[in-house]
Symmetry: C2
Subunit: 598 residues, 2 copies
């Protein structure tokens, strides 16, 4: 049977790419060491194998149903999620004193990779709960933390984020859910929210919704949005559950994939207004929500990468064992068919999957490592540089894995031919699960506007320049070992920089809607450069290890990394030339297309 994901690759990431052992010298992680890291990863792997994997396809085939009163799910889901909570993994990065394991995010993400790969759908419940708890920890009052965060960390309560509305969609500026202050200083919330993942279920005692709403009289647009804690059940002073709040499940959505995770429409305030508790200050809700959303964006990227990793392993396993056809060089019909991994085109599809999925995974872990550094790096300079990089890279960490994860899963289907198309195997489900990722938490289009319109110019381009510097530094560092790839990466960075400067100049000279018409091409181009850097770093580590490593399995592992690096440069990075051409020429084809011409 195929491994969920490659254990050797996870190890490579944690200890060779990120050198996580060094983190134990920081005060926050002082009680950890390689053994505790390994143990955590091992527990996650075992829960993934024992609890998540066996129900992965069953969850897909038995999506939650709503009988008008209650949501029904297969009972195995609760068992699996409870196991995660009981293992402590549910709050792996939280403070010891809040019941957490106080692990570095990068180690926790590596451990979670197994759970995500074996059950991204199931893990969604826990991921959202953590992100919700993190937001309240950051912006809530001590009382709010005590009341809502603690039970979420303990796994008793679940958390959601409730932003999207039926008539506003991604246009948060137009949301209409309203909040009215009542006598006791709280608020009454009225409105409808759609696509709320985990919006109703009975997996936990209570559900804590973080709801964006507009306080009566607030300014129009995004400057008048506030954030509220709106629980499913009221909570008494002693922590016990009170009455049901005025939040009702209006219906379930039925999705292409990710079917184990309820997607709901919630009606707030049908009976006079749901009680809501303001988080932080009025009208600053969107900035708080972005705290959660940035975390959710990294989670989306990571989920996309993990689903790609597991599809790769599954199709690789199949390709190694499935005999079919002969090499073109062999015309003898009496010879034995070869396993399909021997066909160069199958190897191409596997190598592309490896390059996409392992590259995306490394990028996402880099996001987690930057988060750790932003919190715990020894100097203020290091911390703020990590923040700067993370902030800048977030749209890329969200998007590149989300776009290339489904492409990897698509190749897994193709490797397996007709069998890949059948739901007797999980690869078509992986594709369907992964297809949500370029949509939720900000579509690819929205990420591209964020990158080009906000992140690039922000702080006199400080994040942009810092990112380019990191990449140029590596290229210089490995110029002797990898003269070709080093030169290719430098050229790609210069090309990207030229495009960027051209676009910024155009912003002053042309209609802004035209300059942004190809923003998705820009994001794609930037992503390819960042991934080339990620691969060059993997290559450099592998080349160095190869020099001293004599064990054959290890040699094979590193050679695979080097070949995937080569593939990425020669098959993927070269595509930037066409994007650069489109962008530099300010191609107006889509901008000029008229509605009436369609």
């Amino acid at each position: 049977m195929a491994p969920i994901i490659s254990q050797r690759d996870v190890e490579f990431m944690v200890y060779e790419f990120f050198n996580c052992e060094a983190l134990t010298q920081r005060e926050r992680y002082a009680e950890h060491n390689r053994e505790t890291f390994d143990a955590t990863i091992d527990i996650a792997r075992r829960i993934a194998e024992d609890q998540f994997l066996p129900i992965q396809m069953k969850l897909d085939m038995n999506q939650p149903t709503f009988d008008g009163e209650r949501v029904h799910m297969i009972p195995e889901l609760k068992v699996a999620l409870d196991t995660v909570v009981e293992s402590g993994l549910g709050a792996s990065t939280a403070d010891f004193e809040l019941g957490g394991m106080q692990l570095p995010n990068v180690v926790a993400s590596a451990a979670y990779a197994y759970l995500s790969a074996a059950g991204s759908t199931a893990l969604g419940f826990i991921g959202l709960t953590n992100a919700n708890a993190n937001l309240i920890s950051e912006h809530g009052t001590p009382e709010q933390i005590e009341k809502w965060v603690v039970p979420m960390r303990e796994g008793r309560f679940a958390g959601t984020m409730a932003m999207t509305e039926p008539s506003a969609g991604s246009g948060l500026a137009d949301l209409t859910t309203s909040a009215v202050r009542d006598e006791d200083g709280n608020y009454r919330i009225t409105g409808n929210k759609i696509f709320i993942s985990g919006g109703d279920h009975e997996l936990n005692d209570n559900i804590v919704h973080l709801v964006l709403a507009r306080i009566k009289g607030a300014p129009a647009g995004i400057k008048g949005i506030s954030l509220f804690i709106v629980p499913k059940y009221m909570v008494n002073e002693d922590g016990s559950l009170g009455d049901k709040n005025d939040v009702n499940l209006a219906g379930l959505w039925h999705k292409m994939g990710g079917r184990g995770h309820t997607s709901t429409t919630l009606a707030f305030g049908e009976d006079g207004g749901a009680v809501g508790y303001l988080v932080g200050e009025e009208n600053k809700g969107l900035s708080y929500m972005f705290h959660m959303m940035n975390e959710a964006r990294i989670l989306v990227g990571t989920g996309a990468a993990c689903t790609a990793l597991t599809g790769y392993q599954y199709s690789l396993d199949y390709a190694k064992e499935r005999p079919q056809g002969r090499l073109l060089s062999n015309k003898d019909p009496l010879s034995k068919p070869v396993n399909i991994i021997q066909h160069p085109d199958v190897r191409r599809m596997l190598l592309a999957q490896k390059a996409y999925s392992e590259g995306a995974f490394a990028l996402c872990l880099y996001g987690s490592a930057l988060y750790d550094d932003s919190q715990t790096a020894p100097t203020e300079a290091e911390r703020s540089r990590a923040s700067l990089l993370l902030d800048f890279l977030t749209p890329i960490i969200k998007t590149w894995p989300s776009e290339y994860g489904p492409k990897a899963n698509d190749l897994a289907i193709q490797v397996m031919g007709g069998h890949g198309y059948m739901n007797e195997h999980p690869v078509e489900m992986f594709y369907r699960d992964n297809r949500l990722n370029p949509i939720h938490e900000g579509t690819t289009g929205i990420q591209s506007l964020d990158l080009l319109g906000r992140k690039v110019p922000m702080n006199q381009m400080a994040g942009y320049q810092a990112t380019l510097t990191v990449m140029r530094d590596l290229a210089a560092e490995v110029a002797t070992t990898f003269p070709k790839e080093s030169a290719d990466l430098l050229a790609a960075i210069e090309e990207l920089d030229e495009v960027t400067m051209t676009l910024l100049k155009q912003m002053g000279e042309h209609p802004i809607d035209l300059v942004f018409a190809n923003s998705v091409e820009y994001l794609e181009m930037f992503g390819n450069v960042v991934l080339a850097w990620i691969w060059l770093r993997q290559g450099a580590i592998s080349q160095e290890a190869l020099a001293t490593e004599s064990h054959e399995d290890e040699q094979n592992f590193y050679r695979g990394k080097l070949q995937a690096m080569k593939f990425f440069f020669e098959y993927q990075l070269i595509k930037n030339a066409t994007s650069a051409k489109l962008l530099k020429s300010l191609n107006a084809t889509t901008f000029e297309m008229q509605e009436a011409w369609f």
Copy 2:
């Protein structure tokens, strides 16, 4: 509500791109005229709207079940298929004397486009039956035609093609189903076949399987394969049904999409051998089957194109009516949100869908038109030239729409955001339906070997040269009207030709498995050139029409075609540069990748 496909585009294809009215001067079509063509297309459109569209999503959600004895389907499917048969469309291209409508293939394909777009799954039953009947008409005896083809044309019998086996897959050389001659001169067939579409159901009185099998003692490999008619029920001399033959349904497959069409495992000869009737000569079965398979490949391409067309119309309609967000140039939060079609990135996704789907559709109809010409063009020279072109282009007609159809559907999902991911709308189903097309009737990998390994060198490259000539001629013809696109197309043809010559030269100098390692890139590159030619032709017709056309709707239509042409050249054709680079340098990255390195 969105139209199934654009009626104006179908009209453009039939009368402007292909000038089908001129076909009525040929003897075979002498009884037809524009009115009969229009009437046929109109009937198809109405059946599609009235019978297929209402059950499209129901078929997806209620896939056939097998209770161990019978296959169960929703009853509306039979009603819809019977309506097609009763309308005469079931045998639209067959001879009058066989109960057909004797229509040109290109007109029939245009009519079928509506049925395919509204119910590719449902239409699969009829498409396979026709292809089966066409094969027996061509290679069977008069008695076989009378016994099997006539009832298929009348819709009483259905037909299948039974090639794939569990342990051979695409490797037909290794098939093991056996045939033994019995006393009465017929054969007894024993073996298992998988992925047989329409392999068992009760939509028709009988099912005629065309089965590839190996006669005892035949040579190994593809030279020892024969073709047999194996009915589900025996047929008596008077045409009445006799006993059940020894063919049994062993199980149904459950697919990612195309769920209305049963995919079966069939067991032949579990009880002594299924009676089979040899078609044509012994050991020539594969060449006969290719007659059916070539037709099926065009059908696959057409189905992929039609599913792309309908997804495009659906998402276009949505984009025109869904308000969300504001243009970047508008900072006023009090202004009204715009419909999403106003956002340049949404226009990009719609224009890409238009370019892919209408281009693919035109290419597939070109395949049908070539088939018509191969049969009925006035001179032998024209007929054989059409055959040559069709034969050469078949892997491209099969593959380009199959690869870009799903890409178009993917963009339809993305245009609709979260709503596109929900199965309350059909676009996610279109994607799932379309995803089969790069797999069945020869995967993309297999098509690429067919193109580069067989079709290019065949007959001293006659098909290859004829194809390039057709494209060069158009480029020369429109050089004044479209100097840029004409030059771009010529340059792309020269680049393709250079790559081709390089590859052919390499075949003598390098291991054949290495030379073919990037064959899919070659097919991709060739497809883009052919599509650029298709778009340039659409552009030329539109430009000419615009000069004299003053009606606004018509002007808009033609301007849309011109813009899609522009898009294709500027966003798609330029991608060939990277493929050319890979191919010319004989990139060995995937070839050199070792199994142990994965």
